[in-house]
Symmetry: D2
Subunit: 343 residues, 4 copies
């Protein structure tokens, strides 16, 4: 890292800082300019700036010089990661657009789930999504069917051949969910639940990591790094809207530029969720199309046979025919997409 | 508007509110429920909720029931507005994608401006953009060439046939800028400079209104309403990125969902500026493509013959060949765009 | 709740909505106005608006009419909650200002912890704070000493008589942490980790719940409700700064108005953390003083014998003498504070 | 400034950058490390980083090394600025707390204005505030009485001896407003209206500059710099709440930490507006007290004889007796405030 000392830093300030850095294992180079002195500290193995350094007398600014994420960084892994699932479906790189579709929550009526599963499969989706464990802002909202919901998802997989992606909320549930799911989803509220990240990093199912509501992209990549450090390289990153000052017409602001921003720096696949990212049904198709052309490797879309009676998120859920029409359009658009080598 | 009274509001609270509303010219209907009382106040001509009402004793909540923007609203004007310029170029509705391109600032070297103008014209742009009056965060930054810059833009128009769009910063400069420009741009920092909005509303050149850095879409539409109320119906709305908590990798967050959100509620053309919206050259093409498919009627893009030596914003500026390559892609994508009747 | 129908809603839209509401167990009252129709739906036991309702044809807006938090609401519990600890210390209402102080992380050197504990005790603190399990943005940062850290905290308690407050990161660790701590802290990143909220709600130690980085106050109160619904009434709410667009000079924006906003609506004690809330040492005293006069029941402050060598957060940590000087000032200010009955 | 080159920057990249810097008038020092090369560019007179530099091949990061504001900076002007008004009232440094109070808008009824003026004068205010030109989000809202309003303010000054502070919205109105007012207010929406900043910088009445809704503190100080560069050193900075994601219970988030943050870096007086900063009457006193102890030099508070009938902002306006009670409390608190030399 680079330590820029204040113009009025004393010789003692400079010497103290230099000594402290050496104590912490850095090799230092002093560059004394006519205006100010800059200390380059070499050897920052873990890329972390000890915050206390910047409170030392005479310090103007400290600039880290390496990305704090290593395994997720494209510098250390230039080619795109492609996650392969057991049935041959692939996510990432130049694989076909991978669409994950289904109801917000798995509901009691299994027939309804099967109808969705068949409908989205027919339209070209490769994953069935659906929540068995639901994180809800209010304790009085429906919290999901739990294991019962997982069983229904597995039944739909058997019948349709779709893969299953579903959310796990707690480190204690990882084994349970991993028995049923093909891909474990970490929700936005849990993006910095580090025990949970560690737990999904220690099992071998791929992970779909959703961006926290107010997570910076750097924090998002570091959350992926938590999973990867534990040994699981199969992480996909899902942009699903961030919190902004304007909640008048959309639930969140879908940050589509995050797709190329991440793909420039990180080799992992990127998925976009236009349902949560906007919160409104009429915005799902426009944003799904936009996400596809700007380079998303996958999409996650809420579909329900009768959205107005869905147990949650009906407002942002497509009907099956609307989903099928959208898939046809996405198919035509996919060849126009930005690929990571163009960034 | 609907006034919802608190469950514990007294009869006196209710009567006082009812009387006050009638004094202010509303017709009222009381709906006394078993839990609470709701007063419907009919006749809110100007759609404004007097804020003081909500501080009256016993009031729980006040809900306006009409859009506060009237002229900008699609309810009162269902068909898309198409702005026609004197040379036949159109912006809005089903007109071709209208691309405005050019340097951030008009610089001293006229030859450089002509090179850009010819380059973007050849690639299919219909407008030359370029700042003669520059709003800059620091008083020590280059503030633009002023009228000298306007003359250069006019010269480039004569040579190329491109239309000119350029920013006006102050009500005193409206006449001056309108003498040279075909379209007057109101910048993000001035979106709520109401004297300036009034001034551009009172002249007859079309206006490109940029969204304020932290303006809600409702405020954005109300700013357009200011211009329209003065008699100028030719306003285009430009999404150019909003301020967020994450400035690590992008200058702003480009809110592409604003395109269909606005088009559902408002008949005016929508333009997207992926240069300011992202702040980075490598993000311009991905976001321009995404904006096109989600329904933008126009794009505003910074182009310079040698961006690394541009006087401002070089970091987010395309070279001429990069712009030409992008235009070819946009041309192929335009037919896949979402149109306002699909929302 | 109140359902406001669109002016152009058809009779069929109105009838469908009315029927659907009745199917869901509501009693309905139709109020047909000359401009629009309003439906009042009575009987919303769980205060949740089914989101799908607002996507029904003809619906303009839906307004819930009761607070979604019940146990946390001052309406159902008008008097201030005062949490009593076994040694007689109290938090909330008119109890003395309750100050929680100590290092960011518990470090290896026990002597250093004891020095802080004695120093803050002498200055009038009643709680020792310190992290044994540390949530860190990067997996390469120091993650805390774990149970070893808890033991050191317990040792400091024995020696000084201070109570111990420390963070629990995961539902699996609740029993462990509860064995050592007098108060369990839920960190900002876990404010919506519902399994963890449930787990701390099912044990009987008081809980200090920190506000999420971008949590609204409503979400914050609903997170408290999660804990209370499980049977634990002893929850204190900690404002610790929210994420904003400006990270130039502070880590977060400390939302001090949240103190009276919460106290008007909720009977639980409110604690303010000016260390995390600002991220800078020189801002801790000004913000601690401001928090005290606007009504905080407690403060959480980072103190270390040698902040420049602290393992984490040294930049925002006070020295022991600085903390002692601050406590003297707070003591003089406390009598000027705003109390909940003044709101 | 410091240019940090990428680890994989080529020798040509380094040489090109070095040459470009020298062309732009910098003296350069190359510091070639074993990991990367750092170029120090000396002589950045105007403290601006040409943005295009960071888009040059091989550049990792560019760090400016001087504050971009010079006249506003405490480095160049260590002692507090104290603004003196003709009647001996002072704002800044160790002068008494300077309170500006009055209605949001000047209304037709002059008697009502005189009642407020007498009431706030008696309570210890030294300034009468009131809008004659009102910036309103909607063109259909009351826009102020204009010069008629200014005359009423002047009349109230004559009768009470209070100073007058009122907003100017446009560069064309500066002379007019300066004829009547003792201090010119620049509103939040105009903080980056640079023509207006220049215009108030060229006249000699002191200026109260309000922070923009989403302005960073750096941008705020640069806006003050605009005024000062034109020759007017008498600028006070007013924190009045910033835009955040949570609008459930407050209009804005009042960023009180901005008070000490600014006072550490800038010598100008700081004023806090708890009325606009919160938007609710019951929050004005708590936040006014908090602002006072954390070091504000002044307060701006909305007061009206009958807030529920005020033409604007009644919801956040105090009655005269409530204001008088608050002033008594502030008087007791002022001696406990943080002063700039403690930061």
């Amino acid at each position: 890292m680079i330590i820029v000392m204040e113009p009025n830093a004393t010789e003692e300030n400079i010497q103290t800082m230099d000594r402290l850095l050496q104590e912490q294992g850095y090799q230092t180079i002093l560059n004394r300019g006519d205006v100010l002195t800059v200390i380059a500290a070499i050897g920052d193995k873990n890329t972390v700036v000890p915050k206390s350094l910047s409170a030392m007398p005479g310090v103007k600014e400290i600039v880290p010089i390496q990305d704090p994420y290593k395994r997720a960084s494209r510098i250390t892994h230039p080619e795109d990661t492609v996650i392969e699932f057991q049935n041959g479906v692939k996510l990432g790189g130049n694989s076909p657009l991978c669409v994950m579709a289904g109801p917000c929550s798995v509901e009691e009526d299994i027939e309804s789930l099967l109808i969705v599963a068949r409908g989205v499969k027919e339209a070209g989706a490769t994953f069935l999504r659906g929540g068995a464990f639901k994180p809800r802002t209010s304790p009085y909202d429906f919290q999901g069917l739990g294991e019962e919901g997982l069983k229904r998802l597995a039944q739909a997989r058997e019948e349709t051949g779709l893969l299953v992606v579903t959310e796990v909320l707690d480190s204690q549930d990882v084994d349970l969910v991993a028995r049923y799911a093909d891909m474990l989803q970490i929700g936005a509220r849990n993006m910095q639940n580090y025990k949970l990240l560690n737990a999904v990093g220690q099992q071998n199912k791929p992970v779909l990591l959703k961006r926290g509501l107010s997570a910076t992209i750097k924090e998002f990549l570091l959350a992926a790094e938590y999973i990867m450090v534990q040994g699981n390289p199969n992480v996909a990153l899902c942009e699903r809207g961030i919190r902004s000052f304007d909640t008048g017409f959309t639930r969140n602001v879908l940050d589509l530029a995050a797709v190329p921003v991440i793909q420039k720096r990180c080799h992992l696949p990127v998925v976009v969720d236009p349902s949560h990212g906007t919160g409104h049904r009429y915005l799902v198709a426009p944003m799904a199309k936009a996400a596809t052309v700007c380079g998303a490797n996958g999409l996650m879309i809420e579909v329900h046979p009768d959205p107005d009676r869905a147990w949650s998120d009906g407002q942002q859920t497509l009907t099956i025919p609307a989903f099928q029409a959208l898939m046809t359009e996405l198919d035509a658009l996919y060849k126009f997409r930005v690929t990571s080598d163009q960034l």
